[in-house]
Subunit: 230 residues, 2 copies
DNA sequence: GTTATAAAGTGTAAAAAATACAATTAAATA
DNA sequence: TATTTAATTGTATTTTTTACACTTTATAAC
């Protein structure tokens, strides 16, 4: 039987690490933990934890994220397994990296604070332990690829958002500036972006119309060959 | 210290499984193992093996591939970790899937035979054990994404290949038929495709010119903003 | 040695997509 | 009432993608 055969094999600790993206005031940020004890005191790390006996990696990552932010059903996707022998100087630990997209305002501020976690601007990250910088790099690369063909960016925005907000998000993700007329032109070809009657007046006197992403309409459009592309 | 903390954690067997793509006679194929003993006798599986104490997942996958085919320095990329609790009905085993692209002719036929491995047409795969079908699906999806913007398809061809061969490869990867004039037009914009003086006459009386992919020129072109795209 | 065969090789026009670019509108505040 | 600031709108140009058919080359058959 399998069991007998497997018994000779080495077993490993397997952790998950989460690259949690947020977006506010036109900037992408990551939710990071500040170590307040040795070793590596003062250094920063990605939120993570060990996979438990009865968990898949995906469930473990969702647990870590839920514990930290109070959020469930968050957009999350696995990046890959990081397994270099010395990636953790303490002991051999493999780690599966996940990236998550959340709306900062939805997270539980107190819970985040209690875990000694802080939102740090993606363009100005502190030094991170282990291979966490590599994980972040990998996550950003993946985010850029995914966000261009799938409507995942909306997970970083409130339920209702304005066109200028959406544009600022894409400008932040790709680090470019986009012509607003061309940007709106693309949006017009997406029947799953629903224009609401209400305006958001927090960032201008005139106010900008609020929109929402209609998941059902998106699925319908996809079947008709209309794809998301930004 | 870390060690003390880690000791409470569960450890896991971690395997690698390889989706090894080949291309011959206009068709993609996978190198699969046929089980000639129980359990699951007669069923097919992806080539794989356990990660050993002093190996990274990448090294383990390269070892598995080298043992099976005699090939080193093969194009290989990690897909992700598969970790569903019951994915292996025998015991809890996590598995990292890798996909590899090899030139079938380069592999050691006897070695492959000895491991009870066979090339099976991708369009006519046998039933596979565990979550291996999911891994294959994931690999094909990744291959399609990667092959469209990176010159990785050449790993499936001989060192020197013809334009019709290259076109047939891309037609096989994407399951479409491509206009040969438009295909050649795109190739003309790629200075790293070197036309040789020799012809391959195995598939036509007239013969088709052989080309090779020049990696150095590719890197140079990339710096100049010329990207691979097919 | 002429002819038949089969795959390799070639160019252009039309359509679609991406890009560049500037004035007007709306609402609050001075 | 005038000023301010961000939101909103359309068109012309360029680039890219797509559609499409005949000629060339070398071998094999006659």
């Amino acid at each position: 039987m399998y069991q007998t055969f497997y018994r000779d094999q080495t077993q490993f600790y397997v952790a998950v690490d989460c690259i949690i993206f947020g977006f506010s005031e036109g900037r992408l940020s990551l939710l990071l933990l500040k170590r307040n004890m040795e070793p590596a005191k003062g250094q920063w790390s990605l939120p993570g934890g060990f996979i438990e006996a009865q968990e898949s990696a995906e469930v473990a990552a969702a647990r870590v994220l839920s514990t930290l932010t109070g959020l469930d059903e968050v957009y999350m996707d696995q990046l890959m397994l990081f397994s270099k022998i010395d990636r953790d100087p303490g002991e051999r630990v493999l780690s599966v990296a996940f990236y998550a997209l959340i709306n900062v305002a939805d997270s539980n501020r107190e819970q985040v604070r209690l875990h000694n976690a802080y939102w740090r601007d993606l363009d100005d990250l502190p030094a991170l332990i282990f291979d966490h910088p590599e994980m972040v790099h990998s996550a950003l690369k993946r985010l850029r690829i995914e966000a261009s063909t799938k409507p995942i960016g909306f997970n970083l925005l409130p339920e209702r958002f304005t066109v200028p907000q959406l544009q600022a998000l894409y400008e932040a993700i790709y680090g470019i500036s986009i012509d607003k007329r061309n940007f709106r032109k693309k949006l017009q070809s997406m029947p799953f972006l629903v224009k609401l009657d209400e305006k958001d007046k927090t960032s201008s006197k005139r106010g900008a119309y609020l929109y929402s992403f209609d998941k059902e309409r998106y699925e319908k459009a996809k079947l008709e060959g209309i794809h998301f592309a930004l």
